[in-house]
Amino acid sequence: MAVPALQVHASRHCNLRCLHCYSESGPDQRDALPLDVLERLVGHAADEGYRVLSLSGGEPLLYGGSAALLRRAHERGMSTTLTTNGTLLRPRYLEPVAEHLDLLAISLDGVPESHDRMRAHPKAFELLRTGLAEVHRLGLPFGLIFTLTQHNVDELRWVAGFAAEAGAKLLQIHPLEAVGRARTELPESAPDDRERFFGWTEALAAQAMVGERLRVQLDLATVSALGTERHLRNADLPPSQWQRPLAELCAPLVLEPDGVLVPLTYGFPRHLAVGDVTREDLPEAAARWRSRYGDFTAHCARAYGAAQRAGGLVNWFEVVSA
């Protein structure tokens, strides 16, 4: 079972404007959540049983509070990850966060020309490739994240080879969802059933190719495998059990850039949000959310029903946030 994580999107500020960005981040997005609010949230999340802090964005290497948040998480015994677009792998950005970072997740969307096209930057791949030297110098463990689209499953094994050669520990394959900027910039690019099945076989083939040097993980599951999902099993929890630590009821917990905490994934329906950390602290928000936990599990059960009717390989987070 996945270790419960708090995923923080502190800002939508980014140096790139990627075509598939689910949060529609970019250079002109300047708002950011206050560091003191986020530090408090990390402490409260640790109290609620969350064991991982994942920083995302926007580009978290551009958020001035990232180093402090990672330190705070380590102080509370959480492990830490940070997801970057890979164009800022330079001492100025990496050194401040390196000491308290357990895994750097770098996005790589295919062969160089595909990556540059998706990142809307002519040198995105070259910056990533050369920046890996700095990642190695700092001794940072890192993984790559590949977004599977309707058009790029043929590039997956190349990415796996690159990842293994570069010394990555993990290659995560995540299917594109038609949300955020992808809806307008990449219409009809979310992988259909056929591309998902090819994604599955190519992920297995990639694992066979690289062996134990690299772990290849595909964020797709069969419907029956989804049946073991924690939030579906929790549908049977009596209200007397809803006082458990929040991490046992809802993980991942995702902080969106406007301060709203939502269950499971960015873009989750707002009527089931946990709360707004700019207005109240997590313990108060969580207490109120627990009292209507049944609404959340009922929503998950409905989503599972839809997945059962659709069949095939399913991205649970996409299904449950639809």
């Binding site: 309707q150 499953v153 590039e155 059962q308």
Partner: protein, 115 residues
């Protein structure tokens, strides 16, 4: 770093289609006796069944095309065999079973000018 093979492919083409096209461009590779022996050992594994096949080659067969029926738990084994030998292509994994596939029909062959 290896040069990518699909630099000129249209970004609008399905990835799976490009994958299949690429496999058809692979150089012809004949199978030898050891390849056939390893393949027979593969189809004797649990969850893997050879349901249709054609061999070609005179006097000794050096080409094999066919269809495997593979259970999901054996898929890794099949793909490991294909990838490590570097002589095989596969152009479809057709799922059987509603709603959850419990078997796949896998069309496969060694790289050969037939296709």
């Amino acid at each position: 770093m290896a040069k990518s093979k699909n630099a000129k492919a249209s970004p609008d083409t399905r990835g799976s289609e490009k994958l299949i096209r690429r496999s058809l461009e692979e150089p012809v590779v004949s199978l030898d006796k050891e390849d056939f022996e390893r393949f027979i050992a593969l189809v004797e594994q649990d969850g893997i069944e050879l349901v249709d096949w054609t061999t070609k080659g005179i006097p000794v067969p050096d080409v094999l095309h066919g269809v495997l029926q593979v259970r999901p738990e054996a898929a890794q084994l099949v793909l490991e065999h294909f990838v490590k030998a570097n002589k095989w292509y596969w152009h479809d994994w057709f799922p059987l079973g509603i709603i959850d596939p419990d078997r796949f029909l896998v069309s496969f062959g060694n790289h050969y000018e037939l296709h």
